[in-house]
Symmetry: none
Subunit: 224 residues, 2 copies
Amino acid sequence: MNWRILIVDDEPSLTALLRRQFTDCGYTAFVANNSSEALKLLKEQPDLILLDINMPGKDGLAFCREIRESVSCPILFLTARVMEQDKLAGFRDGGDDYITKPFSLAELTARVEAHLRREQRNKVSSARLTSHGLTADLSARELSFEGKPIAFTRKEFDIIELLWTNSSQVFDRERIYESVWGLEANGNNSVVKEHIRKIRAKLLEVTSWDFIETIWGIGYKWKK
Amino acid sequence: MNWRILIVDDEPSLTALLRRQFTDCGYTAFVANNSSEALKLLKEQPDLILLDINMPGKDGLAFCREIRESVSCPILFLTARVMEQDKLAGFRDGGDDYITKPFSLAELTARVEAHLRREQRNKVSSARLTSHGLTADLSARELSFEGKPIAFTRKEFDIIELLWTNSSQVFDRERIYESVWGLEANGNNSVVKEHIRKIRAKLLEVTSWDFIETIWGIGYKWKK
DNA sequence: AGGGGGATTCCCATGAATTGGAGAATATTG
DNA sequence: CAATATTCTCCAATTCATGGGAATCCCCCT
């Protein structure tokens, strides 16, 4: 991913170092020496901003407050101010991180990457499972086959979730009972049996494929 | 917003302090003393995790690697390891922040809030939602259908906001109660039930469409 | 290859759990 | 103080979970 980073600092040797570093990482770096230059460079739509606080003209905190509403990318303060109240001010004014000079270049890079990784992650949708055309959204408790939703009851869904998220693992009926019901199994296996049957019936009707494999004498597992 | 925070540390005095602090902030705090307890508490769907590294049993880094795929909330390491290579390892294994002990409680809180603020911001790109002709202006706390405003009470609106901004995610009644009321649910779910009913009645009358889906035995979710 | 025994699947009636709804009591707001 | 919002209680309707027994299947042994 080719990220765009805006570096705002009035110290040329530092901005040169940072530009070099992030260019090496494969990012595109923009450098501003003060707030008004930075304001112009916002049109480049950076994915992340590294912002000094002490600068001639408008300082970093004021700049951050000003743009925070309209700019949603992470803003990382990079400053020599180490006092706790300064840090708190940085976060209060909308900063996402606060790194004190002198800093380790490796740590700075790691922090930048962590923020970008999170941005990336938040753009894509929630976790899904897919196999043989069957899709599960666990937090929505939905299963669908080629777009068609299939309705499952609570226990049925719990069992599917257990087997699917641990596919390639064989569960005996006691194990399933204990996981899904949260109780100790007292040799009462017919319940699990019946639910497995219903799951199979529903899936088979729609998908014409048996997702559950019976391991004879042992239990069941989700076919990959 | 009533955030849910999972605190994972084997030092009881620290977890007590943190729980106290975040409870005072109005959050719901869950405490785990080790990785296996933490794993179980993931079902509470925390919005943020504070994770120690040195713990008996599986350490924090391993735990983070293990859950990172399936858990999307920010994970903040909170540890006595101050070496740069430890910090880098923390970020490499999927951490979103790395805070070294001893830490300032104020700074920790500020960092936690910064991460949550960002999550919130990323959740809904705008404060305006629309589906099936229904429009919500969250900051104005107004809903309208084809221009006609619909009046909702405070709690009703809170519930709609919770479900809508996390649409397609299923919430059980306890979870709704905890999020909207900010209190622990003591088995008294009928309040939530009643509010859901009122919301449905108001929406149905105007829009002739049921926006809330009942997941039998689990809870409710907002239909997409 | 065929038969035996046990494990598994299938069918279905029953009872338990969950939800939706009415109405009244209590709290909160203006 | 009136109006509105919130909470509580109870009941009917619905859906789901359960367990037993018959039918079937699978594996092993001869």
